[in-house]
Amino acid sequence: MSKVTKFLMATALVLPLASTAHAEGKVEGIHHWVSESEVGALKVLTDSLGAKGFTWEDSAVGGLSGANATQALRTRMAAGNPPATMQLLGYEGVEWANEGALRSLNEPYAKNGWEAAIAPAILPFVKAGDDYFAVPINMHRQNWVWANKAVFDAHGITEPKSWDELIAAGKTLKEAGVTPIALSDQSWQILEVFEAILTDQNGTDFYRKAVIDLDEAALSGPEMLKAFDTLGEVRGLVDAGYTGRDWAVATGMVASGEAAMQIMGDWAKGEFLAKGMKPGVDFLCFPTPAATPNFKFVIDSFGTFGNEDPAITAGQDAWVETVMDAENQKNFNLIKGSIPARTDVPVDDFDDCAKRSFADREAAVAAGTMVGGLTEGFAAQPQFAGVFFDVVGQFFVTEMTSQEAVQMLVDGINNAR
């Protein structure tokens, strides 16, 4: 036998083995959870998946708030080699569903009655047309204020009920030599503050009209001007070294008492807990002050990509069930710091901040005041959200007037349409 024939035969023998070994009982997922608590939380799901007889094949791509993972997915899609499942944020899943790349999950949704278990406000991010394309695992709330209790007590400050009160409290703190608000010049951190102001002052209906429907009259209206005016007041409440500060560093300033407050999603809670601080005792959590309470959600969900391989499909089915399992959702979120996407999970084991999140979500669902967070990609599509980032970011660091900001916003949105 010649060397070539031997080589060919060896290849012929090995190849089928390799491909079966690849397909059997594995679920490959791309996600961007790489921090300690995120990895620990994901392990709850993968262990449960393992108990069902499937192995999780981890394709973590960290960095850039998930943008790197998104790029990895696009490369894989372009190469015709999609993963079994992918962590989806914002409009990413909707776009893929519209491209027809995601499997319809109507069957497990109908069988398990999942629709009744999730808040209707998140439907646009898990359902396109008549088809469910993703299962949500958790829910973060974006519009939180995190405060250092000792600093609040020392200066006689209590939970503010309006943005005017919050700013007045900030001025008191500033006079006392405390940095009132820990913030950064990173435009997403500023936008978190701005969209909280916008929603809290004008209500969720206005927010939907301006930010989700991008209605030009709303965008250029007096409500928008007022929101910029208020953000302009916040401008005076940050310290001099606020440039290039990561959100977790800002949280650290509140934890140490160097700053009094931070306006940030509830991923900030983990930073306090990691320092051994207790909610209500060492730090306070309360929603950004609004006349009518609202709930800004951010969800992580998993979509499953269409494929021909029954082994992969079986793995995807098991994965979807794993993600939506109520017990898994509870254990996952106890570690991750968010609350379950399912609204029917008992709250008893969660901390006070999460309990407040549960209660506020229930109220917001009932009142119809639950909306997606703009900053995290659950309101305007990325090309429009980008304009908000630019304008708000520039407004905050310059002497730009509110009128100029509104004009720039309207022009920018029209340019991106």
Binding site: D239, T243, G244, A385, G386, V397, D411
Partner: protein, 298 residues
Amino acid sequence: MRRPLTFKDRLAALLPKLVLSPSILAVSVGVYLFIVWTAAISFSSSKMMPRFDFVGLDQYVRLWSTPRWITAVENLFLFTALFLAVTIAIGLFMAILLDQKIRAEGVLRAIYLYPMALSFIVTGTAWKWIMNPTLGVQKVVNDLGWTSFTFDWITRPEVAIYCVVIAAVWQSTGFAMAIFLAGLRGIDNSIIKAAQIEGAGLTRIYLAIIVPMLRPAFLSVIVLLSYISIKSFDLVLALTNAGPGSATEMPSTFMFSATFLRNQMGVGAASAMMMLMTVAAIIVPYLYSELKEDRNGH
């Protein structure tokens, strides 16, 4: 009588082509094909995924009506001009000083060259802290007792771009110095001696004789530094993340965020084409003059 061509002869004739073909193929696919591809995308309505339709110059119009892009272009010119001027001035000065047959020249040369060995990410992060008013230089000076001292450029949009220049100059000066030093070493000593005999002062010798003779070194430094400044991406990202606001936005950071973060692939491709044209405007005349000199037998 002519000898019939043997296999060996043919191979010898073919060999250069054979050896070159993989790299030619790699370059034409990896560079030129994708330039064409990017150009095609820039004329399409592509958003999240590439789409091959034709919308004319729409994306270019959109690009040039984006204020952030205008800032990026202004920054590029300001940054390139300052970065080149300062780096060349300091680099040349250091090279001239080092050329004075001083002791421990090797050690000094290595020290000056070290920043070049760092990645721009490291430089950017370090300078971000150094220039932060509550962490870096300002705090140190204030703590020493000069409390009215301020150095908060990095927090001020109108001057933040100079912070990028400072960090980039720090990183690249040693490199410019090394090239100038090599150029200085290549200058014939007898010319300088002759000038000294004629009674020319040191300043005069440098300005009228040595610096003009460094022309090739200048050309190399200018071309290499301009392309560093056009592709500067990691430095800006690490140092200011294009902020405060969009004050330190550069074409490369704009291209990245449009294409990969904002689902505006068409706009991103249009900005990439604009960058390509800028680079071509610098490189093509340079190549042209180099090739022409080759033909003239230099």
